[in-house]
Symmetry: C2
Subunit: 396 residues, 2 copies
């Protein structure tokens, strides 16, 4: 049968990354490809206890249909944490619980984007955002990331030249680059947005995972009305539960609730209750410290291995948090070719071109350091280095 | 700030039903309004055991990111059940796990609907489908339901007159009407669809809840390529877990996976694992028998109460399964007015006009019998009857 699919599906494809992940399920492969947190740090026992408690004490309610907004005590917890950690005054009614940040992106697309609307993303940009927004057929413009955040001069010009609905930014330990916006850059960004009706989507799944340097202000502290902030329990509790949130003004939240209701009524209620119980019974900051420490060690080992094995011409970022670093090969060396050759050596990563909506990034790659143990990191970097050297020498 | 929302949000509103549900949270109110299953029948203890087992044996995996398609053993289970219960040959790769049927509807909208595309729904129609599809700005045409299913003559004419992307049907114990398509009607429907490229969305959350009469064939047995079937664990296990599925041909599933990936990556993986564990360790058919028995008793009591208290001029359906029956008041008696007056007597229901995309249904209402206990059912119907009599007598 000849199916009459919607136009929006013509340009929608499966994520290249998620296809790579299937290949890297082979246990022999040392994978720096995924964006997976380290499962050894999941609070498995504590979540088991929390689930048992919720089901024993209030199972009939926890398994029933619930409100679209999400479990109120969980929204209160999130609002209070914004106050405690970021100095933001957020009402629980400005929080909508979502199925991870990814659904937050989809709902923002649903609520804001008409076909042909313009959105600005970072270059390189977060692939999940590109996928989510693509469904709504916008025009993407990619503005380059510099070492300390978005190129504000180019962003200002882009916003001047065309009416722009959204700018999507990962200001802390960006995926894929590991770059963090400096304090100065955040001020410049705030200046640029003042008086504009463009929405700044502050996508912040990694903000709690800072293991070096100092926390910097959320963009929402400068631009309370323009900023829609996205948060997630995926990196600080566990991703399989698919729980995140959107923090937006009441006017926007109202629309997002309508869109969420149409999309799936509400997020898994037992998991909302369970995560709240876990947060109520445990010190999440202590748990986050453990994650930070582990990821710092993994990053340190990856950087020291790169310094030891990679040729000097190869550049890389030194992220202060998160899960990724970004490698730039000398001009003309193809990361896709490197990917193919590295596959033969059982090492995987994501070629950087996946993160560009235009042609570009051909000589870049993303390395994940959160989901590989110490021995693997050194061995994997060593094998990658060998292939890079052969490519540079022109022997492969 | 003046937000630039997408055009699609102009006609999107919060569900009237979900707003009613908030009001009926008052424990004094006898509510026939919700579409809630009876929580006393949730397998709370068994689900607690299943969760504990999954987390103890494989917690690191169950809490990690997973595939968009869903947990393979769960998809295999669903495919096998289609074979065992419906005589359908379905491959696990033709099953996509969703966040309840509601997300199934949203993904179908995403994959098939361009703005302005025509879809046919039942009259009265399922509100969740109207909400989900509305986001994609289609043109709705409502074709009347007769006592034994859709008016096939009018449906045939509607499909002849305009190219139609989708027809949404709840063939078993429809929400809101409780109507089931007869065997003859299913054959006529199959004839109508042969040679057409219109998709028949067979939305079947209640199919397992038959407590009278005989199971009838799925439309997929006649039209394997045209039919996209939706299923749900909400009514046979528990709705708070938000787990359902789409069953479609590989060509369609491929597109649905792309849309699901962009929407939220995958459904709650711990809950997928838990529900599979529960299904593996328990006899779900035995559990479903208990639900059927309970709902049959609740329906019987509602019907006998209606026969005892309602004026003779009031008509109502006698569903052979599911959770709802449908009441038609004499012409000119407003169900909205009845709703207001009944509120004063602490009784709630859903006025039928909520299920019409055109004007219509002003003298109809939906009664839910699954989520009220025996005494409440008789007392609630008695109070409703009093108000109806006053409306008929013109004293209110």
């Amino acid at each position: 049968m000849n199916y009459m699919f919607a136009n929006r599906m013509a340009s929608a494809h499966k994520s290249f990354i998620r296809e790579i992940l299937k290949v890297t399920a082979d246990p022999r492969v040392i994978s720096f490809a995924g964006g997976l947190p380290n499962p050894q740090l999941f609070p498995v026992k504590d979540l088991a206890e929390a689930t048992a408690k919720v089901l024993a004490e209030d199972g009939d309610d926890a398994l029933q249909y619930s409100t679209t907004e999400g479990y109120l005590p969980l929204r209160q917890y999130i609002a209070e944490r914004y106050s405690k950690k970021r100095g933001l005054q957020i009402e629980p009614d400005e929080i909508l619980i979502t199925n991870g940040s990814q659904q937050g992106l989809d709902l923002i697309g649903k609520v804001f984007l008409n076909a042909g609307d313009r959105i600005v993303i970072e270059r390189p940009g977060y692939l999940g955002a590109i996928q989510a927004f693509s469904i709504y057929e916008p025009v993407f413009e990619a503005v380059p990331l510099l070492a300390d955040g978005i190129d504000t001069a180019l962003l200002d010009r882009a916003l001047d030249e065309n009416e722009t609905k959204l700018f999507h930014a990962v200001v802390n330990f960006q995926n894929p680059s590991g770059i963090t916006y400096s304090a100065q850059k955040r001020l410049e960004l705030a200046e640029i947005f003042k008086g504009r009706s463009t929405i700044l989507v502050e996508d912040d799944p990694y903000g709690e995972l800072r293991f070096a340097g100092e926390d910097l202000p959320s963009m929402k502290s400068y631009l309370p009305d323009n900023v829609i902030a996205l948060g997630s329990f995926s990196k600080i509790v566990a991703p399989g539960l698919r729980l995140g949130w959107i923090c937006a003004t009441m006017d926007v939240t109202e629309k997002l609730i309508v869109a969420k209701q149409a999309s799936d009524l509400h997020s898994n209620y037992l998991s909302q209750r369970t995560v709240f119980q876990y947060l109520a019974d445990h010190d999440i900051d202590e748990h986050i410290l453990k994650i930070r420490e582990a990821y710092k060690n993994q990053r340190d080992l990856m950087i020291s291995s790169i310094e030891k094995y990679f040729p000097e011409e190869v550049e890389f970022t030194r992220p202060e948090g998160g899960m990724f670093l970004w490698v730039t090969l000398p001009e003309g060396i193809s990361a896709l070719r490197l990917f193919d050759l590295a596959g033969g050596e059982d090492v995987a990563f994501v070629p950087g071109s996946a993160f560009y909506v235009d042609e570009g990034g051909g000589n870049t790659l993303r390395l994940n350091f959160s989901n590989a143990d110490g021995d693997e990191i050194e061995e994997g970097i060593k094998r990658l280095a060998e292939v890079i050297k052969e490519l540079l020498a022109g022997t492969k």
